[in-house]
């Protein structure tokens, strides 16, 4: 207490307490950090413990490559769901990535400041809309529109991609904006002084300099798309076929778990956990690929 009263000189006791306080706080922080990591470890261990035995029992190859999903008869093949997740995520990445990157470029390079102060918060507001609302709007507006104008049942890869693309916009946009704003202003001045226009500068220098940040934005957006469940269930159609066109209905890995968890028991329940294992592995692979790409690019950029 005496130490906190702004005395210019410290007593030996006060200095000792200060040191102890540092130690105390840093050990608390360490415990907090470890518990966050231990959450990850426990969840991973649990999913694998529940899911792995049934996968081994069916055979890992058969589990991921078979198209027969008849839990009542003991047939567990999730190939259609894997393809569904990949198709929907790829579609969302195309839609959300292009829109998000476009937004970020406009916001950072071509917008007057007052417009940015209106547009950026409104895009970030998209993150606050519950996913069930996205799904509902998708079902009521998007799905009938696709059915009438493009054909098919409407509940489709395309509908899910559009909904997920819009859902990942805030993530992609705000991280891309950060990456673009992190480019030193000197690059802009340097390029423009060489007779480049604003757009040429953006295209040839600024996008290039911020590439690793933009890749990170895409990864995180993709993570959101792979993991999203509720909105996808509502607009994807959830059939158990491998999608053969963007207008075909699909079921994703996450939807499969959510749809059947309520009534599953025994091997069926374990197979759903195994679905979770596959999802986990897919996300790990995607993240690793993306991280490697962004790391290699940033190393090349810094020239080390």
């Amino acid at each position: 207490m005496r130490a906190s009263q702004g005395m210019p000189k410290r007593s030996p006791l006060g200095a000792w307490l200060d040191r102890k306080q540092d130690l105390f706080i840093s050990s608390i922080l360490l415990v907090v950090a470890l518990s966050a990591i231990s959450g990850l470890v426990v969840i991973t261990a649990f999913i694998f413990k529940e899911g792995l035995p049934i996968m081994l029992q069916v055979g890992v190859g058969k589990f991921v490559s078979s198209s027969d999903w008849y839990p009542a008869e003991g047939h567990f093949g999730i190939f259609p769901m894997i393809m569904g997740s990949l198709a929907v995520t790829a579609g969302a990445l195309v839609i959300g990535g292009v829109l998000g990157l476009g937004c970020a470029v406009v916001l950072t390079q071509f917008c007057p400041r007052w417009a940015v102060s209106i547009l950026k918060p409104s895009i970030e507001l998209l993150a606050g809309i519950p996913s069930v609302v996205y799904g509902f709007i998708g079902v009521v507006i998007l799905v009938p529109m696709i059915r009438v104008h493009l054909g098919g049942p409407g509940l489709s890869v395309l509908a899910s991609s559009i909904v997920l693309g819009i859902m990942m916009l805030p993530t992609v946009t705000s991280i891309s904006v950060d990456a673009l704003q992190a480019v030193p202003k000197a690059y802009r001045d340097g390029s423009i002084a060489l007779g480049a226009t604003h757009w040429q500068t953006t295209r040839m220098v600024i996008l290039k300099a911020s590439r690793s940040g933009l890749v990170a934005a895409m990864i995180l957006g993709m993570g959101r798309a792979v993991g999203e469940t509720m909105a996808v269930i509502m607009v994807a159609g959830n059939t158990l076929d491998v999608p053969d066109s963007i207008l075909a209905p699909v079921r994703t890995l996450t939807s499969n778990i959510a749809l059947e968890m309520g009534y599953a028991a025994g091997d069926h329940r374990k197979a759903l956990f195994a679905t979770g294992v596959v999802l986990f592995v897919i996300i790990m692979i995607l993240n690793t690929i993306a991280l490697t790409v962004s790391r290699r690019r940033s190393r090349r950029k810094s020239g080390a």
Partner: protein, 278 residues
């Protein structure tokens, strides 16, 4: 466009034969004519009533204490200030008689004719070769041989060719600070500009790199109109034909470097040069 530039150079050489001696009042054909130029950002007034002639094939040094508007003046000459959304100005700047602030002016072309070197080297995140060809490519030069030739001659002019000729494909960031600044000089020269704006080009460099830059500039003075902003009065004295002294946003005086440094008209100028303030 480039051939037009080359023709400009020829015209410049002819003009160099009858260069005027006095600022603002000289009847000689100035390359850049600045009249009643006021400039500022938002509420802040930076430059007040600057009138100045810059003659072709001469080096004009601009000296003065920090915050005097030297850099703002320089960045007005290639319209770089126009990038700031709150920049405002009045008065005129004429380049070969053409008002560079006129609405029908191609700003990118002005910036190619009036090249700029910054205080801090700004290598773009590209290879050395791409850095050098960046401007010429945008100006429409696509021919490989022509680009290779430009890269070589401009690197030689910047006294950098021997050091980098075998590593043109490496990222420009790999170069040392002094090399980066010379590469930036070469990059400007590759545009074949008519005017060179130098904003304290040696402020962050060691004496050896500084000497190399000054050597390069010395070789270039016969071909370019040079405007050099510097905090180093010694550099101004040895690397310019004329000197202008800026103080608190106003141009106090301008004249032949020898006169400014030995017999200035204003007390403030001699105070600054002799180190009494600033």
């Amino acid at each position: 466009m480039m051939s037009a530039n080359n023709e400009m150079h020829k015209v410049d050489h002819i003009r160099c034969s009858h260069v005027g001696e006095h600022c603002a009042t000289s009847p000689g054909p100035a390359k850049i004519v600045v009249r009643d130029f006021h400039a500022g950002f938002g509420e802040t007034q930076v430059l007040r009533n600057v009138s100045l002639d810059i003659y072709p094939c001469q080096r004009l040094a601009i000296i003065g204490p920090a915050g005097g508007g030297k850099t703002t003046f320089l960045r007005s000459l290639n319209r770089l200030n126009s990038l700031e959304h709150d920049f405002r100005h009045s008065g005129s700047i004429l380049l070969d008689g053409q008002d560079i602030f006129a609405s029908n002016v191609d700003v990118a072309r002005i910036r190619r004719r009036v090249g700029m070197l910054y205080a801090v080297p700004i290598p773009l995140p590209l290879s050395i070769y791409e850095n050098l060809t960046y401007g010429p490519r945008l100006a429409g030069i696509r021919d490989r041989h022509r680009l290779d030739e430009l890269v070589e001659t401009s690197l030689k002019s910047a006294i950098l060719w021997d050091e980098v000729k075998d590593r043109l494909r490496e990222p420009a960031h790999n170069l040392s600070g002094g090399q980066q600044q010379r590469m930036c000089l070469a990059r400007v020269l590759a545009l074949e500009p008519e005017v060179l704006l130098l904003d304290e080009p040696c402020s962050g460099l060691d004496p050896i790199s500084t000497a190399k830059i000054e050597d390069a500039l010395d070789e270039l003075k016969s071909r370019y109109t040079v405007v050099l902003v510097t905090n180093n009065t010694k550099q101004a004295a040895r690397a310019s034909e004329r000197t202008a002294f800026f103080l608190m946003g106003e141009m106090i005086e301008c004249g032949p470097t020898a006169v400014i440094f030995t017999n200035p008209r204003h007390g403030r100028t001699s105070d600054y040069i002799t180190g009494h303030f600033g």
